[in-house]
């Protein structure tokens, strides 16, 4: 079985093949790995590669995998046409800022259309009793900003975008 995954902006080709017993053969790029796999439950398993033990927790959400290997986190995307589009968008110089947490907007420090420097505070968001400055991820023009002080936002909500016209 063949897969294509991406991590950040790098792409990886994989082949997975079932072997005898608990064995499995995985080809990552040009490297071959022989492993045994023992499931604890569907999203937890132990991989053993030539004696080295990897304790895996993995969760799939649409085409996104959140993988925890011996306590270290990795975000992996399964490649689809949609994602290729996303990458194209990134390249156009637009960077979207979302919030990872639900909260309340305390202050909006710039107006839509303003030019900002990288790291310049755009919003102040209060969540879990702390006020957090949300900063511009790159220099450029602030767009898609329609929040006002007092607004509540959910986790993963869009806050604003910054378009870098240089690219």
């Amino acid at each position: 079985m063949d897969f294509s995954f991406s991590v950040g902006d790098r792409e990886y080709k994989l082949k997975v093949k079932k072997m005898e017993g608990n064995g499995i053969l995985v080809t990552v790029g040009k490297k071959k790995f022989h492993a045994t796999v023992d499931f604890i439950c569907p999203d937890e398993f132990i991989m053993n590669i030539n004696g080295r033990v990897y304790d895996v927790i993995i969760n799939a959400e649409n085409h996104s995998y959140s993988v925890c290997i011996n306590g270290k986190f990795f975000e992996i995307e399964k490649k689809t046409a949609l994602q290729l589009l996303g990458t194209a968008e990134e390249k156009s110089g637009r960077k979207e800022v979302k919030t990872s947490m639900p909260g309340r907007i305390v202050e909006v420090l710039v107006e839509e259309g303003d030019r900002v420097k990288k790291g310049q505070p755009v919003l102040v968001l209060e969540a879990m009793k702390m006020q957090n400055e949300i900063k511009a991820p790159q220099p450029g023009k602030v767009t898609e900003l329609s929040l006002n002080p007092g607004d509540s936002v959910e986790a993963n909500a869009h806050l604003f975008a910054v378009v870098n016209e240089m690219t």
Binding site: M1, F3, F5, V7, Y12, L14, V16, K18, I24, V26, V28, K31, F33, A35, V37, F39, C41, P42, D43, E44, F45, M47, I49, Y54, V56, I57, I58, N59, A60, E61, Y65, S66, V67, C68, I69, N70, G71, K72, F73, F74, I76, K78, T99, S100, M101, P102, G103, V106, E126, A127, M128, K129, M130, Q131, N132, K135, A155
Partner: protein, 506 residues
């Protein structure tokens, strides 16, 4: 009065999270029935599950539940509790609440309202301490009310200066200002945070100490005239004035300074007729001169490190003191052994500016076993961390014969600690605990800010293994007809959602 025998038969704990759980455990060990209170957001919280009795006191918003004095008092009356333990935060340093308890015939497990009130007003307490011969940092004694004063005072003290909330604590409403032109905006932010956190916008100003250490002394005072100190806690590892790692003994102090600080802390407590557990916070400069910062008139988050080296259970001591028992030990009986370190595990994303990360804990494996490991937890696998409160999940504490052993234990414990579903500060602690400056005990309050400037080596070590795991998972899913809905633990929580909706709908 004998220090054996009954203290109380029921205690209400007016708090949530790990500290409520900690107090429940102390009660259970003393044969006292613990009574919990909870908000609508905490219906299935760990402190509710471990309590004997529990009462809902209102909505998620703190002012409608954990800060609601009437609701807390009503629950105490209903349950028949004789005493209230406030934990830290919420009502713990609210002297009006203490007065109310006194009026209602409920024992407040903490100092009297008068001592609390004195120490709670930061500027007032500085004046009292100065009078009692306790060294204080140069600065204003009253809150700043006029913006003109702000500038003149700051210029007189010389930059950098610190702006501090008069009712503050825990780093909220605290701002360091390096230049005159940042002064006004910092003042406004500090006032606004102070207002929203403590319902009191007053802010005062202090000289900022260079290369400072934040070191505090734990004291205990009973109602029989005994006041003792239980050594110090080094709390200089701070991020945005919020402590993240604490240890005892301090790798920076010498025996003489330690002794001197202990004596002064006892003096400070006695100056206000202090009772119960309290902490005298000092800022210590690079030449080991120390200045009184404030007194926290309650149990500290970081109290476990003191417990680990002295063997004294501070919560039990608090309860015994509140019941009028004399201390079980004198100053000479308090002998620290070994070294202890605490890491505060927060639901925050260290890869994304430490943004709070509330949500469902899908998997959780906590470190356990072996000598010298303690995990004061406030959550469990399957719990949804609410967005309404402080993001502290648990405190991981290790003890060792030496500082090196305590650090090695912490590294081991962190390597076993896995939380999945929400982000935590565990990876951040792994960085701190393996940092050469930390390991050598060579740090001050600037440590974290300096650390954040260091470039993080991007971990690509196990990337191929992670890719393999994703491949195996996809393969298995496609072949076995498993889909995510029925196949993951998460699905249980989805089903739970269905049940809840159903229960509420009927």
């Amino acid at each position: 009065m004998d220090n054996k025998g009954k203290t109380f038969s029921k205690i209400l704990i007016s708090n949530r999270g790990e500290i409520a759980v900690r107090i429940i455990r102390a009660c259970r060990e003393m044969g006292i029935k613990p009574v919990a209170v909870f908000s609508e957001a905490d219906r299935t919280a760990l402190h509710v599950r471990l309590s004997e009795e529990a009462y809902c006191i209102g909505k998620a918003k703190p002012v409608e539940s954990y800060l609601n004095v009437d609701a807390v008092i009503e629950a105490a009356k209903k349950s028949g509790a004789e005493a209230i333990h406030p934990g830290y935060g919420f009502l713990a340093e609210n002297s009006d609440f203490v007065s109310r308890c006194e009026k209602e015939g409920l024992v407040f497990i903490g100092p009297g309202s008068k001592a609390m009130d004195l120490m709670g007003r930061k500027t007032k307490s500085r004046a009292i301490m100065a009078e009692a011969g306790v060294p204080i940092i140069p600065g204003t004694v009253e809150p700043i009310t006029r913006k003109e004063d702000l500038v003149s005072v700051a210029v007189k003290l010389g930059f950098p200066v610190l702006l501090k909330a008069s009712s503050g604590g825990g780093g909220k409403g605290l701002r360091r200002v390096d230049h005159k032109n940042e002064l006004l905006s910092a003042f406004n932010l500090a006032c606004s945070e102070a207002e929203s956190s403590f319902d009191d916008a007053s802010v005062y100003i202090e000289k900022y100490i260079e290369e400072p250490h934040h070191i505090e002394i734990q004291i205990l005072a009973d109602h029989h005239g005994n006041t003792v100190y239980l050594g110090e806690r080094e709390c200089s590892i701070q991020r945005r004035y919020q402590k993240v790692v604490e240890e005892t003994p301090s790798p920076f102090l010498d025996e003489e300074t330690r002794f001197h600080m202990g004596e002064i802390a006892v003096k400070a407590a006695q100056a206000v007729n202090y009772r119960n557990a309290g902490t005298v916070e000092f800022v210590v400069d690079k030449d080991k001169h120390f200045y009184f910062l404030e007194m926290n008139t309650r149990l500290q988050v970081e109290h476990p490190v003191t417990e680990m080296v002295t063997g004294i259970d501070l919560v039990k001591s608090q309860i015994e003191i509140a019941a009028g028992k004399p201390l079980r030990f004198g100053q000479k009986d308090i002998q620290a052994k070994g070294h202890a370190i605490e890491c505060r595990i927060y639901a925050e994303d260290p890869d994304n500016q430490f943004m709070p990360s509330p949500g469902k804990i899908i998997h959780m494996r906590t470190p356990s076993g072996g000598l010298g490991i303690r995990n004061d937890n406030g959550v469990y696998e399957g719990f949804t961390v609410p967005m309404d409160y402080d993001p502290l999940l648990s405190k991981l504490i290790t003890w060792g014969n030496t500082r090196t052993e305590a650090i090695q234990r912490m590294q081991r414990a962190l390597s076993e600690y896995q939380v999945y579903g929400i982000k935590t500060t565990i990876p951040f602690f792994k960085r701190i605990l393996s940092h050469p400056d930390f390991c050598q005990g060579n740090y001050n309050t600037h440590f974290i800010a300096d650390l954040e400037k260091e470039k993080i080596k991007k971990e690509r070590d196990d990337l191929e293994v992670a890719l393999m795991a994703a491949g195996i998972r996809t393969y298995q899913e496609s072949r076995s007809g498993l889909n995510r809905r029925s196949g993951t633990k998460d699905s249980n929580w989805k089903i739970q959602g269905r049940i809840k909706n159903f229960m509420n709908r009927l």
